[in-house]
Symmetry: C2
Subunit: 500 residues, 2 copies
């Protein structure tokens, strides 16, 4: 059996290398690729995706797994080998359902789709993107059909990002969240609004860049094993845990956007940089799920980065950098400004109280697209009317509406819900962190993050994708993913800021 495990790992190494190569091509596509490169890039990604898929669902891996799964049951169930065999077997069974033609076509269509989205968004013309999205939705419906019978057509999509989670479970969580968040937003709207005019400014890019670098270096981001570049839509990508890259963007009239984006992506990157090296070149060299991943990015962006403690340490430095604008703004006013709650158009710029509503909207639209009750051509109208219903605002154009996110152009459907789930998990972990590190607040006030990072490394990062997300959250917090801690956090934070 030792030989068979070694052989399985060897084959998985190849799959992992191919995945890394695709990630490099994807990173380049979003950072430096000239426009002419799009077609060939689509072909390269398509070929790599097809080869990866064919190699993974090979008879050789199939027969190794057949022998190894019973053997894994005799091992310590938490051992790396046992978990690798189980996760590989789960993914093998899934991917075995999917045709290699579909994989190649999907990679090609989404590579081209991303370029179309870039153009469509910059010209704010949904019609440029529409035919691509139609093809993508069609491919995603085909994909779901590979997994028939399913409880819900959205389940197979969600499962790719959140292994084991069902659409109905998410809907139940969201329905509770929605009621309470809407009530909170309403309560806030009845109070005097805080001032954030000092954030609606265009700041010097280099200074923003430098401050962001300073902050995430303090967080613990390892620059020898990563780098930061600019991209239209910030993201983190990893080619093994020793090359984990982040991106950021600078927006006009938004003085804190790049900073929070950098902290957010750093949260993702710290996760990837912290995975146990023993898991390298295997399927487990990943986050446990997108919700777990997002719990890390949102923790560093919000629970740390938008906290009074953080700015107690960093505000004077930030204020000095931009003294022409912030010279007369007090720490308290700044803190309230960066935490202003107001229904707005752009998800990634939205505050913690309204953010999840952006997600619910996307999930409902995705489900409608998948069920076939909404046509792609009607998507902009559906988007706008849901924005009106959920948030009371209507985008003036598609760039600030339906075209704002890159995800659909890359074929990511079923991904959005994990953002809201990530918020929930971040606070579930946060409560546990406060139990385990009582001094956490004063540490952050002193700009010390090593205990926090150490805790996350030990409890979350090091395990990579060994455990299923719900199991992982349960192991750490004693509960599955649940909305109560997040709602407690929101209510407490905003009660103080808005005197509710």
């Amino acid at each position: 059996m030792e030989e068979k495990i070694a052989q399985l790992k060897l084959l998985l190494n190849e799959i992992s290398d191919l995945g890394g190569a695709q990630a490099v091509l994807g990173w380049d596509q979003q950072t430096y690729m000239p426009p002419g490169g799009a077609e060939a890039r689509g072909e390269q990604l398509s070929t790599l995706a097809k080869i990866t898929h064919d190699k993974f669902v090979s008879d050789e891996i199939g027969s190794l797994l057949q022998d190894l799964v019973p053997y894994a049951n005799s091992l310590d169930p938490d051992s790396n080998d046992a978990r690798l065999i189980h996760v590989a077997n789960r993914e093998f069974k899934k991917q075995k359902n999917v045709s290699s033609e579909w994989v190649a076509e999907f990679a090609q269509v989404t590579a081209i789709g991303q370029e179309a989205w870039v153009t469509a968004r910059s010209e704010s013309k949904f019609s440029i993107f529409q035919p691509h999205l139609e093809k993508i939705v069609q491919l995603r419906r085909q994909y779901a059909d590979f997994f028939k019978p399913y409880d819900h057509i959205y389940d197979p999509l969600l499962d790719d990002y959140e292994p084991g989670l069902k659409t109905s479970e998410v809907q139940e969580i969201f329905s509770k969240l929605r009621t309470e968040q809407v009530a909170l937003i309403k309560a806030i709207s009845e109070k005097p609004q805080v001032d954030d005019s000092f954030l609606k400014v265009t700041l010097d890019e280099q200074r923003q860049w430098d401050f962001g670098v300073e902050v995430i270096t303090r967080f613990g981001y390892d620059w020898k094993r990563g780098r930061q570049d600019k991209a239209a839509h910030p993201f983190t990508t990893s080619f093994g845990s020793d090359d984990v890259r982040i991106t950021t963007r600078f927006l006009p009239n938004s003085g804190s956007s790049a900073l929070f984006s950098t902290m957010h992506e750093c949260g993702h990157a710290l996760y990837e940089q912290g995975i146990n090296p023993a898991l390298r070149r295997t399927l487990l060299m990943n986050g446990a799920s997108m919700a777990l991943h997002e719990s890390q990015s949102r923790m560093w962006e919000n629970l740390v980065g938008r906290s009074k403690e953080f700015w107690t340490c960093f505000y004077s430095r930030f204020q000095n950098l931009f003294s022409d604008i912030l010279g007369t703004v007090s720490l308290d006013d700044f803190y309230r400004g960066i935490n202003k709650v107001v229904p707005s158009l752009i998800r990634v710029e939205s505050d913690e109280a309204t953010y999840n509503l952006h997600i619910m909207l996307r999930m409902e639209l995705e489900i409608a697209l998948m069920e076939g009750t909404l046509a792609v051509k009607d998507l902009p109208d559906a988007w706008n009317s849901k924005m009106k219903e959920y948030l009371g605002v209507v985008p003036p154009d598609d760039a600030q509406g339906v075209l704002q996110d890159i995800h659909w152009s890359g074929g990511s459907m079923g991904y959005f819900p994990t953002y809201a789930l990530g918020n929930l998990v971040s606070v579930q972990l946060w409560e546990k962190i406060h139990e385990d590190i009582p001094a956490i607040g004063s540490q952050i006030r002193n700009g010390e993050f090593s205990d926090l990072l150490g805790w996350l490394r030990e409890k979350v990062h090091t395990h990579g994708a060994k455990f299923d997300p719900q199991d992982m959250v349960m192991r750490i917090t004693g509960s599955k993913i649940t909305p109560e801690p997040y709602l407690r956090y929101l209510n407490q934070k905003y009660s103080e800021i808005y005197n509710l």
Copy 2:
């Protein structure tokens, strides 16, 4: 047969995509990859190289070629299909000799080797690079042995860069070149030296960058299908003809180095951008050989870029940009300065009269390493004594000596001779261009390059790798690769500059 050709092309498309992916990974490695990424990058490149090799030497391609080669003989021998079949067959037969384990190991060793070289060069410590180079030489000797019996152990290496050319042919050309170039250098050394002190300065990087961009835009470089970045060792790479990237570097105390490097790489890039799109995703989507490639880079760098005509157009602009240094330097003095002949340490910075001697030195060392008459540990001494013998100068450290070039670290042995051959071909073409475009001199004086580029596109670029290099040069100039035109060019140019 139509079906079989279509099937062959489909399989070659995959190979081409894999090649493109490897090129992206290589580009990233030399431009933006953080140091921690080296190990995983080696693994990724190794896996891709192995998969590419295995797919190329597959029985499927073998049996298609067996049927198609006789059929190709019935086609127009210059047709794309006939040439594709012949070139594919030639490469198939070659690669069939090479084991897939060798390919994987070579990719891994050279990826790591490149990182070691970067460190070794920056610390000027050959010992850091030595064990890597020993491994590389060992692998290269193994490689040659795959092709036994050979006339010369260096032949299989040379053939990778210059299909069909033999070591003995190169040696014959070089022996003639060497005698005459040494005589020329001696004649020059007896004349009063020209002044180039105004070039031994450190210029503002951004202005150098901008001027280089301005120049190569005029040459015809298509920025929608390319980009320029910085790299330790400038290079050009292509991921299909619609994404052809160049790199440059800025040196202290060398005011024109980056500019000539940019023009050089642009010459390579114009070649790749000009290949007939009908050849895309096939083996023919490449230059005909490295000598042909180098003929293009050296033509734009030297025959254009170091000509009086070019600077007649561009000097006042350049002078204005750096008026504090060049304000009092006349066009004639500037022209003489950029063409100063002086034996020097660094190949890529050397003048046209001494350049080929740098190449001969490398070729002789490579042959000695391959023949086993020189041990890697003795290479720095051998380098230094050959520098003394050929050029009369001795490097003060290994960074300026044996460690100056990236090539060996990437496993490129047999490549260097093509640089000198490229010089020869560039002037063979240049003489023909003057016959076909009598106004070429005045066009360049006016900054007009479209006739020149058009000629190169039609005669050279569009054909990609359809024709063998010697055949190609013969078709265009009526002669094989020969040293006389280059020697004529050198003698005429320097007779005027140095009053010989």
